[in-house]
């Protein structure tokens, strides 16, 4: 009985350690508590992603999934096209920084694109969202 419980405790400890080590080495691979927001559809030049919970910027890859709390930056001469879950597309222009979560926050630089659904855009100065009309049907 005692040997069983000791073995069980060892298994639990090993599993916990395995989980910890996975999280430590790939903080961005386990964003289970965060919402998927967009996919990086295309890019050109140097584009980096800072995944939520991480402290290190990583080179962005085409097809990479972007989650809430992620940040993306483009350098001189670079751009990135983001495709959002609800159908919006935004092109980040060179030397831009955006963060995701509760919409898209353009911290600096420029974005251009087509908004669909309720995608909210924010900057340090304003908030914007596609206008909706009240109609009687």
């Amino acid at each position: 009985m005692t040997s069983h419980s000791t073995a069980g405790a060892c298994v639990v400890a090993l599993l916990a350690l395995g989980n910890l080590s996975c999280r430590a080495s790939h903080p961005s691979d386990a964003p289970k508590e965060r919402t998927r927001v967009a996919v990086l559809k295309t890019l050109s030049g140097t584009v980096d992603v800072l995944h939520g919970g991480s402290i290190e910027w990583q080179p962005a890859k085409v097809g990479e999934v972007l989650w809430e709390e992620d940040r993306i930056r483009t350098f001189k001469g670079a751009w990135a096209q983001l495709a959002f879950e609800e159908g919006s597309t935004l092109r980040m222009e060179e030397e831009s920084l955006v963060s995701l979560g509760g919409g898209v926050t353009v911290e600096h630089g420029a974005v251009e694109g087509e908004l669909q659904g309720d995608l909210r855009l924010k900057t340090p100065a304003l908030e914007a969202e596609p206008a909706r009309d009240i109609v009687i049907q």
Partner: protein, 188 residues
């Protein structure tokens, strides 16, 4: 007869009551927009199509296609009409060009400080291969290879607010040399 008429009126009212409902629908399914943020946080928003609600400093502005707004950090939004689209003079729609270097010319727009030219392989000019800012109304661009290209030009107002984009125009680069004429030479 009167009773029947009254009954049909009341039935019609009931039908109206049952079917009428206030519903929130998008003003336009797609809103095409550009947003520029300067180092100090000042923001320009230009709406090309659709409609956008902008909120800043407790005030809300609804923008429709052809309208824009400038907002400085902590200040009220200042609404402005976008500059009109420049009229593109060259190349003409569908023009075939035998060189990888092309001249693009457009008519000046009153109030424009500079112009923005985008050239792309895609008809929507979504992923431009050339993005150029110029204070002239004529520029030379180079494209990497023969093929079909699309471009559009917009004027940029003082302060950076982007104007309406010109309709997308297409040109074809064909650098194939003319075929040689085979046959017996004719002596003159």
């Amino acid at each position: 007869m009167m009773r029947m008429f009254a009954l049909s009126i009341s039935t019609f009212s009931l039908f109206l009551f049952a079917t009428a409902s206030a519903e929130e629908v998008p003003g336009d399914a797609r809103t095409t927009v550009s947003i520029q943020v300067s180092e100090g946080g000042g923001t320009n928003v230009a709406v090309q199509s659709g409609a956008l609600t902008v909120k800043a400093a407790g005030r809300s502005e609804k923008l429709k296609g052809g309208e824009g707004v400038h907002v400085d950090f902590g200040k009220m939004p200042r609404k402005a009409a976008l500059l009109p689209a420049p009229r593109v003079l060259a190349p003409s729609e569908g023009q075939r060009i035998g060189s990888l270097r092309i001249s693009v010319v457009w008519a000046g727009v009153k109030g424009a400080e500079k112009y923005r030219l985008l050239v792309s392989r895609e008809a929507r000019v979504a992923n431009p291969i050339v993005e150029m800012i110029s204070d002239q109304t004529k520029t030379q661009i180079s494209v990497p290879a023969p093929g079909i290209y699309y471009f559009r030009v917009s004027a940029v107002a003082k302060g950076g607010l982007r104007g309406r984009a010109s309709p997308v125009r297409r040109f074809a680069i064909d650098t194939t040399p003319p075929s040689l004429k085979a046959g017996k030479p004719e002596w003159k």
